[in-house]
């Protein structure tokens, strides 16, 4: 009797352990990355563009069993953190978001070549071809692909439809028209044109107009500076004039990204050329008092320049070559950037798309009306030269353009000095 009970007990125990191990195996199948920890270094705006704490990364954790630790940092600190870890070879960050200007040999040496991973993912349903080739080419050194485009944006001209209508004016298509419209819309506590004037941001916005005028920063060999051109002088003079005429706000040099978005939201500015993904914020009815009165158009250019040419830029997701979980890291990247989630990030979280299919979808165009124009602008736009000293070049532009606008130098002198300094840096 006793031995019978004993046998029953042992059999029950066996059955229990088999069922438990079976469920564990099933769980392993369902959660192939259980126990894996990934650390992601990302800009807070980009993290928000993945849906934040309850978004795609949380879903990835649930689906794979991996733990994703997210570290956010603003732009300057972001690069510092990444760089320190790269040099130390710590592999602390598995996935890192990096800007297009950082996609140079200087950083490629610290990144994992992704070609094999992409080929494998593409064998499934990742559809690498759908990612706009000119964007993926930025993170390719000619031999290897080091980054996957995640967010891309160009500039759009945003304006107050009611003010434009009142003034009986058309949406400006050329830079000259933009100047005239900006002058006409100035008044009653409203600035005709708002742009960013803080260090570095002033260079970004100036470059937007400069590319729009048909300018290039460096020649093809990247050995000569081309700022000292008709386009450079013209754009600098225009900005100088608009500031002194009071068309641009008095505190122009203290205006950063958030200030200019707020200014448009509060109806204190009539027009501005802004980074396209900010459309969502500018027209957010919860924050904007003029949400229904904002129109958009291609950024103004010189007449002979392709329409919508301006400064474009964006972010890539890369894997550190010292990552201890490169496969899992790449899986996270493909999860964030696959077709389905690319559409979601664009529509739900106002991310700037990197896939042609998103730009062409009705859903996206309905949610983001400037979408079609944006595709034209993205196709025609320029990016900053991928020179290792681009940081220094942008600082020179900041300083010389500021000197011109504040009348410490003439436009000719400022641009000549900028070129002399830049050629000293690059040669």
């Amino acid at each position: 009797m006793r031995s019978k009970k004993w046998i029953v007990f042992v059999i029950a125990l066996l059955l229990l352990s088999i069922s438990l191990s079976g469920s564990a195996l099933a769980q392993d199948d369902e959660q192939p990355l259980a126990g894996v920890q990934l650390t992601v270094l990302i800009h807070p705006t980009l993290y928000a563009a993945t849906g934040g704490d309850t978004g795609i990364m949380a879903e990835f954790e649930e689906a794979t069993g991996a733990t994703v630790q997210v570290v956010t940092a603003p732009i300057g600190e972001h690069v510092e953190r990444a760089l320190v870890e790269f040099i130390a070879g710590s592999g602390r960050y598995d996935v890192i978001a990096m800007q297009n200007v950082e996609m140079t040999d200087r950083f490629f040496q610290f990144l994992l070549p992704l070609d094999d991973y992409i080929a494998e993912a593409d064998a499934g349903d990742y559809d690498w071809e759908d990612v706009i080739p000119s964007l993926s080419a930025i993170a390719n050194d000619g031999t290897h692909q080091y980054g996957i485009p995640f967010r891309w944006g160009s500039q759009m001209v945003y304006y107050r439809t009611d003010l434009l209508e009142e003034a009986g004016l058309e949406v400006p298509e050329t830079l000259e028209e933009m100047v005239e419209v900006a002058r006409a819309l100035t008044g009653d506590g409203v600035s005709g044109l708002i742009q960013r004037g803080t260090p570095l941001e002033i260079a970004h916005d100036w470059l937007g107009f400069f590319y729009g005028a048909g300018g290039e920063v460096l020649d093809e060999e990247m050995t000569a500076c081309l700022l000292n051109s008709e386009e450079g002088i013209y754009v600098s003079q225009v900005m100088r004039d608009l500031y002194h005429e009071g068309v641009m706000p008095e505190d122009f040099f203290a205006i950063g990204r958030d200030d200019y978005i707020t200014s448009m939201q509060q109806g204190r500015s009539a027009m501005g050329v802004f980074f396209s993904p900010y459309w969502g914020r500018i027209t957010d009815p919860e924050d904007s008092t003029v949400a229904d009165l904002i129109g958009w158009g291609l950024p103004p250019t010189a007449p002979e320049v392709p329409p919508g040419r301006t400064r474009s830029g964006g972010w890539f997701l890369v894997v550190s070559k010292d990552s201890s979980n490169p496969e899992a890291a790449f899986e996270l990247i493909t999860t964030i950037t696959n077709r389905e989630n690319s559409m979601r990030t664009a529509i739900e979280f106002a991310n700037g798309p990197v896939r042609a299919s998103v730009y062409q979808s009705d859903e996206f165009i309905e949610r983001f009306p400037p979408g079609e124009d944006l595709l034209i602008s993205v196709a025609n736009s320029a990016t900053d030269p991928p020179h290792a000293s681009i940081g220094e070049i942008l600082d020179v532009i900041t300083e010389e353009v500021t000197a011109i606008i504040t009348d410490r130098k003439s436009a000719e002198q400022g641009m000549a000095d900028a070129c002399a300094r830049i050629e000293d840096i690059i040669n």
């Binding site: 300057g76 690069v79 510092e80 760089l83 790269f86 040099i87 200087r106 950083f107 040496q109 610290f110 004037g197 803080t198 260090p199 570095l200 002033i202 706000p249 008095e250 505190d251 122009f252 040099f253 203290a254 205006i255 950063g256 200014s263 204190r268 000293s389 940081g391 220094e392 600082d395 900041t398 300083e399 500021t402 000197a403 504040t406």
Partner: protein
């Protein structure tokens, strides 16, 4: 024979005692050094080594992301000497240091003298006064950025009550300079107050009372008795404050980003920019060495001019 043996035993005992005594002597002598060793090791690892390394790197063309390095002697220093940006940054740093020290010292000394007179609740007032110093400089910069805001800042609102128009504080070189100075003085003055208050508290009151009895006016007592006796505290406050101000970074980083253009860029920001944006460790180290020498020279001048031994 026996005597000789005894004498030998006594001698060897004495010898042993002497060795033991000597050993004890050396052990005792070495104890202070052993106790200092952990602190010295920490200093070597975290201060001396980085310092020597910084000086060493400043003589090299040393990119943060490139393994190839070249010895270039004083080239980084000559490059700095030719750099307009460096001179602008150095000029701003010196002007800022001077302005903040004068203002913070005047306000700090005044507050310390007033607090010294307070007999009831001095601790409470001191605690309240020190609050700004507890705020992280980054947070101070962000808060003051809002206060200086052109369109909705409290400063412009306040001057607007008196009919003055809004001023673009952070957007003009001259006003941005003073905006940075005032924001920093607000944060750092409590440090000076505390040091000077400690100095004032340590001055024997009998001396002051004697001077008063002898007919000295409040100003005479302050100038002839209090101020000279406060010299060590003043020196400490000035030396520390100067070194802190020369290393300015955080407040400017959040308040103006060094702008307009580069007009409010201190050497600290220039180092950060050169190191992390231009990846030029050699030049960044050279700027750091210049800053170090500057701090040392100014401190020596203070010690020479202000510091004097005080005996009560």
């Amino acid at each position: 024979m026996l005597q000789t043996q005894q004498s030998l035993q006594v001698r060897s005992k004495r010898g042993l005692e002497s060795i033991w005594h000597n050993r004890n002597y050396y052990v005792q002598k070495s104890i202070p050094y052993l106790l200092l060793l952990p602190a010295a090791l920490l200093l070597i690892v975290f201060l001396i080594y980085p310092l020597l390394m910084t000086i060493y790197v400043s003589f090299w063309e040393w990119s943060l992301t490139d393994v190839n390095r070249t010895f270039i002697g004083l080239d980084n220093y000559t490059k700095l000497a030719r750099s307009e940006v460096f001179w602008t940054s150095l000029g701003f740093t010196l002007k800022f240091t001077l302005a903040t020290i004068v203002l913070a010292f005047a306000i700090g000394l005044g507050s310390a003298v007033v607090l010294d007179q307070v007999k009831v609740g001095r601790e409470i007032f001191t605690s309240i006064l020190i609050l700004p110093y507890m705020v992280a400089p980054i947070a101070t910069g962000l808060v003051w950025r809002l206060l200086w805001s052109h369109d909705f800042g409290l400063v412009n609102y306040s001057i607007g009550l008196f009919g003055a128009g809004p001023i673009p504080w952070l957007a003009r070189s001259d006003t941005a300079f003073w905006a940075v100075v005032v924001s920093d003085v607000w944060r750092t003055t409590p440090f000076i107050t505390l040091i000077l208050l400690a100095g004032l508290t340590s001055i024997p009151h009998e001396l002051i009372e004697c001077a008063r009895i002898d007919g000295g006016s409040a100003w005479q007592v302050f100038r002839r008795i209090t101020l000279p006796l406060l010299a060590p505290a003043i020196t400490v406050a000035l030396v520390f404050q100067t070194i802190f101000q020369l290393r300015l970074f955080d407040i400017v980083f959040t308040l103006t980003g060094g702008g307009p253009g580069r007009d409010t860029m201190p050497l600290g920001l220039f180092i950060q920019r050169t190191y992390f944006r231009y990846f030029d460790s050699g030049e960044a180290s050279a700027i750091s060495v210049v800053l170090l020498v500057l701090g040392a020279v100014v401190s020596l001048i203070y010690l020479k001019l202000v510091y004097r031994e005080v005996e009560y």
